[in-house]
Symmetry: C2
Subunit: 251 residues, 2 copies
DNA sequence: GGTCATGTTGCGGTATGTGCAACGTCCGTT
DNA sequence: AACGGACGTTGCACATACCGCAACATGACC
């Protein structure tokens, strides 16, 4: 809508690929050097880009600050965290929390064996949206039209032989997931990793987030993982209840 | 420099404080609603902001992606990481890596006891720039004028009685740090936490990053921590050497 | 000292962003 | 049901602020 801002914002993912000098930016944007310079200067003033000694630009530290703050203002995460830790302590496996936003699924929390950590390392990376259990749960709840449109527009990388191959298969899987209320990924992303997930619902029943348990199949068989479903689903429901405004439910 | 972009970027930290609706954004920006709307739409198209069900805007998931990618393209971090892990395995304490950028100091890596993790949780948060050992190291190496200007413009929060109280004290401390080549923070940020740090220098001798060891003084006395200085400094030098283009030095 | 590559500056034309006012839409209220 | 208020949205005319150009620094390399 706004040409100038549009161009400026286009610079950011461009620099995310790696540092670039003025001319490279100008060429990639399809604008004159002076125009690119003005945009970069404005971005620089806001700390969004940084200029290294060799004068090339790269993304700036302010992005970390913003991402961090964006993160902390996600109230689902805040509410869910202690429950996820409890779940982890009970069964020992890796716990993930994810949300859907404008065609993307992002992990917003992770608890790993015995060591609670917000594993930002997974955040932002292209989540395996076509295979991850949490992605299935979040997409399964989208309105029919949006779900279909999104499924058509996705790529279906064959991470493993069990990866979801195409849109029709994905939509069928989503229908199943929606029907039964939980999702799984048995080696669809990494051959040896299994995963089960459950939806977290808000007051209106919409899925606001999803959580999952992951474990390598050399440690835990898929059956053993499935046996943990009741605990996982109970956790998800507790979180949903609290999120919906029953803070002192099963205290 | 560019009014439109400037306004658009101003929206981001504003939303970082919490969700806001169109009118609030317009008022804070001092522009007409329609103008704010256009800016927000452009930001939205780029995933920088997200519109929740109640139509209020908040920061979007794309920020995570950008921060993540910015992160991975920091080559100091990449080079340093294995050395930091080795250091941690050797002495067991928490290891930090930080860089300076445009008046800010940010942690870009962390290794905690027996569990290597990029502790993104600290990134973006205002680092205790006036007391942290790594901050002292990075600021001590700035050109005289910039160092002085920055010191004047900083706040000096009294985290503890040992926190750096004001600009003159800070500049004196920086002079000491620069002279002797290492820095410490004994309870200047948190009463019970001690910390020693060493500079990582590039080929031209400039400090490109700094690393540190932290430990609670109930576990390790400050003397014991100081005894680890040689190991820490050796690590820092190894990283600096490799970063300067001697990849196969002390293999 | 010359040449090349790259970043920077000043300037006029006009595309582009701006504010205004009218219109939708969704609430809650009587 | 009808009304009213609060917000978000749209179309438009004006002029601002952005754009590309071309000339000018700057610095590296030979």
């Amino acid at each position: 809508m706004s040409q100038t801002v549009d161009r400026a914002l286009t610079i950011l993912p461009l620099l995310a690929e790696g540092p670039a000098n003025l001319e490279q930016v100008a060429v990639r944007l399809g604008v004159h050097k002076s125009t690119a310079l003005r945009l970069l200067r404005t971005l620089h003033e806001h700390g969004m880009v940084y200029r290294q000694q060799d004068q090339r630009y790269r993304l700036g530290a302010r992005l970390f600050a913003l991402a961090q703050q964006a993160f902390e203002s996600l109230d689902v995460r805040e509410i869910a965290h202690p429950h996820l830790v409890a779940l982890n302590e009970r069964c020992g496996h890796t716990v993930h929390l994810a949300v859907y936003e404008d065609g993307e699924v992002v992990y917003i929390d992770k608890v790993d064996s015995r060591y609670p950590v917000r594993m930002y390392s997974r955040i932002g990376k292209p989540v395996a949206i076509t295979v991850a259990a949490v992605a299935k749960l979040l997409l399964a709840d989208l309105p029919e039209g949006e779900r279909r449109a999104l499924a058509e527009r996705l790529d279906y990388p064959a991470y493993t032989p069990r990866s979801t191959p195409n849109a029709p298969a994905f939509l069928r899987e989503l229908a199943v997931v929606r029907e039964r209320g939980w999702a799984a990924d048995f080696g669809g992303h990494e051959e040896s990793i299994n995963c089960v997930g459950a939806p977290i619902r808000g007051a209106d029943g919409r899925v606001v987030a999803a959580c999952s348990l992951s474990a390598p199949n050399v440690v835990v068989s898929s059956d053993e993982l499935l046996a943990l479903l009741p605990v996982l689903r109970a956790t998800a429901e507790t979180i949903g209840a609290e999120y919906s405004g029953k803070p002192l439910s099963a205290q």
